[in-house]
């Protein structure tokens, strides 16, 4: 009778409460002694592996883990000191605390603990499963069978674990690390580069306080970032679209040649073409030389492409058109060709001009279909580090007290704050705010877009 009841239990995905409610002593005992349930129910190797993991975790925690966690709230306080050594007749340095390492090791320990918890949960489930199968007289999978299932039913586990490991270590851990920095005073200000403390929300307050230098810089950079992202996205979008329409017109000859000319420029690595542009637009660069030779500007003078704030801002937007339009051309050509031809035929019959057709058929259709693409491009432009850094480097700097120039975006400012000025905490706050703006912005536009509201309606 009992065997039958056990047989009907669903073993595909048992929850922890099920394990404790329905499991026998072996499954329950696996909670303190991992793998015990497996060992007692014909899965010796698997059980021993679980046990080894538990042992390794306990050893790690005793040797360094607990210490790492205990240091985390205080972030260390022992400064490095010089001590005169009589025997050697030299100054020796005592090993002081390094807050940055304490923070890193603390976060690492927390991640390892989370990982251990996941393995612990898996071990309980597997003990429960083995026990249920064994008690109901069914076949308990052997170790080799388990290994084989890694290439079959459990293939996602096998294939996703290595990438997940690297994402955790090289993307998620660093992000959490940076987010933590936003709540510390890790900065060159007041010399907190070795020892720093938690300061709560003070950095956010500094940045939002528009009377401080950092605060006023933040608002200035934020507004320019949004202006830049808007123009960079839409100028490319329109120019790319118009160009695609011009090239793909029925009457245009040698279409392949025109496309080749434009695509050639995105075949050159972007950093190379940006550096070329920068040198060409210097006061003594090729463009100014040419203008002088032609006689458009007097000899000896030059156009201030990157030295005047307004000029620099327009320059980067215009050059971004040069850099970005070929990509847009490539991406939009396919979408444009998908516009139903009968819409245009009907418009022709009704006598609409090409310009009217563009504004009342092409544009609405394109907006409708490419909203997700536009959001992605806008996001990419807010985070467009390369174009600004390689072209103008954020220059010109008009306010010498601030750390940002007139063309600095939030990202390039973040770079300057962290790498050049070592204001790590403020840099982290800027990063978090960029994320918040992007997340809220893209969520709102996407929710309000037609392509979300009426999926597949056009």
């Amino acid at each position: 009778m009992k065997e039958k009841a056990v047989r009907n239990v669903d073993l595909s995905d048992p929850s922890l409460s099920e394990v404790f409610r329905n499991g026998q002593s072996a499954a329950r005992l696996s909670a303190p002694v991992m793998g015990l349930g497996c060992i007692l129910h014909k899965q010796v190797i698997k059980g021993l592996l679980y046990l080894a993991i538990e042992a390794a975790y306990i050893v790690f925690m005793i040797r360094s883990g607990l210490h790492n966690l205990a240091m985390l709230p205080g972030l260390g306080s022992v400064p490095q000191e010089e001590v005169w050594n009589e025997e050697l007749q030299v100054y020796l340095y005592t090993k002081g605390d390094q807050s940055i390492l304490i923070l890193l090791y603390g976060l690492g320990t927390i991640l390892i603990t989370i990982l251990f918890f996941l393995i612990w949960r898996a071990s309980l489930r597997s003990a429960y499963r083995a026990e249920m199968l064994d008690l109901s007289g069914r076949h308990v999978p052997s170790f080799t069978e388990d290994l084989k299932s890694l290439l079959n039913e459990n293939l996602p586990f096998t294939l996703m674990t290595p990438p997940m490991f690297f994402i955790t270590v090289l993307t998620i851990l660093p992000l959490i690390f940076m987010i933590c920095m936003a709540f510390t005073n890790y900065s060159k200000i007041d010399n907190h580069l070795v020892l720093f403390d938690w300061v709560g929300l003070r950095n956010f307050a500094t940045l939002f306080d528009s009377s401080s230098v950092l605060g006023s810089t933040f608002w200035k950079v934020l507004i320019w970032t949004l202006i830049w992202a808007f123009f960079a996205t839409f100028t490319n979008y329109f120019f790319g679209m118009v160009l695609a329409i011009l090239i793909n017109r029925k009457d245009t000859k040698i279409k392949g040649f025109w496309r080749f000319c434009f695509v050639l420029s995105c075949a050159v690595p972007m950093f190379v073409s940006l550096l070329i542009m920068r040198t060409m637009l210097q006061p003594e660069g090729a463009v100014n030389v040419m203008l002088r030779n032609v006689g458009l500007i007097p000899a000896g003078s030059s156009l201030p492409f990157f030295t005047n704030a307004t000029w620099a801002r327009i320059s980067v937007i215009v050059i971004n058109i040069w850099v970005g339009v070929p990509y847009t051309l490539l991406q939009l050509t396919g979408v444009l060709q998908n516009i139903p031809a009968d819409l245009y035929e009907a418009a022709d019959v009704d006598g609409a001009s090409k310009v009217q057709q563009f504004f009342s058929i092409t544009l609405p259709y394109m907006f409708y279909v490419t909203t997700p693409y536009l959001i992605a491009t806008f996001t990419a432009n807010v985070n467009n580090f390369n174009v600004i850094y390689l072209l103008s480097g954020g220059d010109p700097v008009t306010n010498l007290a601030s750390t940002a120039g007139d063309t600095d975006l939030l990202v390039t400012w973040l770079y300057k704050l962290t790498i050049e000025n070592q204001y790590y905490n403020i840099g982290a706050v800027v990063g978090i705010l960029t994320f918040v703006i992007l997340a809220v912005g893209s969520l709102l536009t996407y929710r309000n877009s037609k392509s979300y509201k009426e999926e597949g309606g056009f």
Binding site: L104, I172, M181, T252
Partner: protein
């Protein structure tokens, strides 16, 4: 009737003229760099557009003058990094895309959401932290920097699986089902059926991940810091335009830029079809 035809011809003329002007603007900088790479006069400031004399010395200097900026070494560094990170990232991207497209598991939705959220953070906000982490495990000294860069370039690639997933999504499920009935494991389906059938996307993934180390500049700069013997081509070219080098190295920069661009331009022109397919596939859905 005649006037309509005339008007059409006139419009056609205007369009072609506009295209010609635009094409000239777009090709002009590339043309200029190629000219500069053959220019005999040194320095970045010239008074004429066309060089006064042509020479191959710039290319020769790039490969022989290794005392200050060791271009051949940089080239080898980048090549090694590119080969290994290409192998790793291709494996990561394709296997993640395959799992998300073909298999159903509990972690699937959370993973895709996570990839979307992580994509909104400024890419290199975490760069400083990555540097500290790599330093803590001892990967920022000497030749270990290469390993560090390989990990940096391949570690996060599994988050940009969308194009490959879009491709796998278009393949009929019936093939997988038939193979399953014949007793194939899922691993065999992946390696023996899906991959051979998806040559375009495999080639696309291999090449994009191979190109990445050649064109990335900022990650390499933060991780290499002052270790000049570990520099990649991108940092080298950037260095050549710094104030202290620009007078002697400007024409060599152009030569280096041309050398790096040729293979990439070749790959890109061959691959633009897949590039467009992947992107429009993503837009559609």
């Amino acid at each position: 009737m005649k006037s309509a035809k005339m008007k059409r011809r006139r419009n056609n003329m205007i369009v072609h003229i506009i295209l010609a002007i635009l094409a000239a603007i777009w090709v002009f900088p590339i043309f200029w760099v190629i000219l500069t790479s053959f220019r005999a006069e040194k320095g970045s400031y010239v008074s004429t557009f066309f060089p006064r004399a042509y020479t191959l010395d710039n290319y020769r200097k790039l490969f022989t003058d290794t005392t200050i900026l060791n271009f051949p070494k940089m080239f080898m560094n980048t090549l090694i990094i590119a080969v290994f990170s290409c192998i790793l990232s291709t494996f990561f991207v394709l296997s993640v895309a395959y799992c998300l497209s073909r298999l159903r598991f509990k972690f699937r939705r959370p993973y895709m959401n996570m990839a979307m959220v992580l994509g909104l953070f400024p890419g290199f906000m975490s760069m400083v932290a990555v540097y500290f982490i790599l330093k803590a495990v001892g990967l920022t000294e000497g030749s270990m920097i290469r390993l560090a860069l390989i990990l940096c370039y391949s570690g996060g690639t599994a988050l940009s699986f969308q194009i490959a997933k879009g491709f796998f999504d278009t393949m009929p499920l019936a093939i997988d089902e038939a193979a399953m009935i014949d007793g194939c494991t899922r691993w065999q389906i992946f390696t023996k059926i899906t991959l051979p059938l998806s040559k375009p996307i495999v080639i696309y993934t291999v090449l994009t991940s191979f190109i990445a180390p050649w064109v990335d500049f900022i990650f390499a700069k933060v991780i290499c810091r002052a270790n000049a013997d570990q520099y990649t081509v991108a940092i080298g070219l950037w260095k050549m335009l710094e104030k202290e080098y620009i007078d002697n190295w400007y024409t060599c920069f152009a030569a280096g830029a041309v050398l790096v661009s040729i293979p990439i331009a070749f790959l890109f022109l061959r691959l633009q079809k897949y590039y467009v397919n992947g992107l429009t596939g993503g837009v559609k859905g």
